[in-house]
Symmetry: C2
Subunit: 387 residues, 2 copies
């Protein structure tokens, strides 16, 4: 049996001083259960995508969702982790359990509470996702700066394209009430180092970096034999997962080789190419990551993504809109929630339920969720199966 | 297709100053691949069971095993976490993927590096597995002391039975070359508080506590349609997973309600009772946990486990030998490795490959792996399908 998405929940992303990790998890999960209009007793098992790495002291969070409702007590729950792709890790594990017949109704939650630490603490916790033996002490801006530098050496300066990506994603976020930032950025601001847009790790300026966010997103997945009980559903035309080795030193940093392989595998399994997609939600943890993903997706050849981006191919009115939600850049990036959030927002587009974000005639959506420096990549091709 | 175990690896448990987490993972994984006599290229995906919670700075470890062999690059890998049941969490996720058809050959590794921190650091990291909102600052000895206190209030003092469990498991470990401690303890030593056996958290003495360990264990699982390619295999007659709510305050501490439910579900699915088992590897993180598990297994009724243990029902020569490996108590407890280790050691018994530990005529084995204070429980009933 194939898994299908029949409900979802999504907190606003941002700073939630009054909500801890458990609150965020239960808020998104409760909303997903209501959205699917199911009895909590119908849920067979739960998956949590969560990175943590010191962001919160709760080292064992899988059962936090169990506490949401007495009917969930004594059911299986587990946490899955693949750094910033932890949300997709949870989702894919749930899909395996449905395909394998262990469960028919799955609750998947992705969540992260990041604002409890100061900037230095968050930077250190996220830094735990790098290869400690070689990269300890480097921040993630440092790591993605290396990708940008490698790109510049091979193909030329990506800074202008990166600025266009920031502008586009901030503009898209204006239509997303769940986004953390509702503030348009203009191109000049993004292009220039300034007091309000300092260099974080050359060539990455503040405007190239995604946000520190609290948030959670949730999905209800059911086995396709239950489709008759639901009025709307989104299915997976294809999925692919690729893990590259951890050390940056072993990788070509001017390309996203792991993501490119995962995307190619998903396209092949779906029998499609980039031209068939209506929209994509991709992992713009830094603007250079979106540029490299645009090339990995085949929207443009390696080294030619800059022109495509600058010419508007990935804008809302372009050939393939990328990150209509605002992306990690402006929607926010509570790391464990991000992969689930991408699938929620893609599903809503495919069902015509995306509000002001809605793209007319959205029929096929791509999600690309990445952990670490192109280490773990999950790619889903989604389509409505009942709308 | 059903998953079957066709190979395994297992480092010695103990203090490995020269080995870091990556070394431990790769050591056990390499041994498992050799044991199954497969080409690494045949592996479709990898799962890592690992708790971490600050024990090591590596916050993103799933891809460490990918680095073992160039043939593993670009294959899926993910970490699963359910506190001290993380090893089983990884194993069960891999089983779902095989049953669902996404993979045919899976590599599962459980690993933990604990000795890099001092006792206070380890205690704090493990303490992260409790419900922080109510239990922060309590150690796990404190938490299991509460179970022992609740048991004493309802049924009478469990201390004598706890001492017998410690003696038994240390004696069993003498036959296990992979065990951390090869030192017999005598009953009087375990019964008395002394300089060498101090009270850790009343009524738990040092001799009631499992060990701080470095170690890893690994399994190769394949889809049963590949059985013809292997000379020996162990199958899962039944599996069950139960997650209770996280707060201790919501639970009856004189019983292991979650584990009892999981065990009953596994027995029912396997069509067996405790009397049908040849042996069990259970989660004796503290001796009180083994006592409560003995009752949850139905070896004795609630409150009557003490007599069964004292009379020797769970000794090597008893009706149902429990923890022939030495258990967490004497084999060691590198938390993420423990669930995988249990399955390795049970599989070896069922295939007649357990060396000095070997029990004659072992035909059906139970594994009970638990995370937190009876929060997450995984129960497997194993049997040889090809020997």
């Amino acid at each position: 049996m194939e898994p299908v998405i029949v409900g979802w929940g999504h907190t606003k992303f941002g700073r939630h001083d009054a909500l801890d990790l458990e609150d965020l998890i239960q808020s998104a999960a409760g909303e997903a259960i209501a959205s699917a209009d199911i009895d909590p007793a119908a849920i067979d098992a739960m998956w949590l995508g969560h990175f943590n790495s010191g962001l919160v002291p709760d080292g064992f969070c899988s059962s936090m969702v169990v506490g949401l409702d007495p009917a969930l007590r004594f059911k299986p729950a587990v946490r899955c982790e693949n750094a910033c792709a932890s949300g997709s890790a949870a989702l894919y594990a749930a899909m395996d359990a449905i395909r394998g017949g262990r469960v028919r109704v799955a609750l998947v939650v992705g969540a992260e509470k990041m604002s409890g630490l100061g900037t230095a603490g968050v930077t250190a916790a996220l830094g735990g996702a790098s290869y400690q033996k070689e990269e300890r002490g480097q921040s993630f801006p440092d790591i993605f700066a290396k990708f940008a530098q490698a790109y510049a050496r091979r193909y030329g300066d990506p800074a202008e394209a990166m600025a266009h990506i920031a502008v586009k994603n901030h503009e898209n976020a204006l239509r997303n009430p769940l986004a953390q930032m509702h503030r348009a950025l203009d191109l000049d601001f993004c292009l220039q180092v300034s007091e309000r847009n300092p260099m974080i790790s050359d060539p990455l300026k503040l405007s190239d970096c995604s946000l520190v966010s609290d948030g959670a997103a949730a999905l209800i997945l059911v086995s396709s034999d239950l489709l008759g009980e639901f009025t709307r559903a989104v299915g997976f035309r294809a999925t692919a997962q690729v893990n590259d080795v951890l050390p940056l030193s072993a990788k070509d940093l001017a390309a996203f080789e792991g993501p490119a392989r995962a995307i190619r595998a998903a396209y092949a399994a779906a029998g499609i190419g980039a031209r068939d997609l209506s929209l994509a939600e991709v992992h713009d943890c830094f603007t250079i990551a979106e540029l490299l993903t645009v090339e990995a997706m085949g929207i443009a050849a390696p080294g030619q993504g800059r022109e495509a981006v600058i010419e508007g191919a990935t804008r809302r009115d372009g050939a393939l809109p990328v990150n209509l939600s605002g992306g990690l850049k402006a929607k926010g990036h509570p790391v464990g929630a991000t992969g689930v959030s991408m699938h929620v927002l893609a599903a809503r587009q495919l069902l015509g339920d995306a509000g002001e974000m809605q793209l007319p005639d959205a029929s096929l959506a791509l999600c690309v969720n990445m952990g670490g420096g192109a280490v773990a990549t999950y790619v889903s091709v989604l389509e409505a199966v009942k709308a």
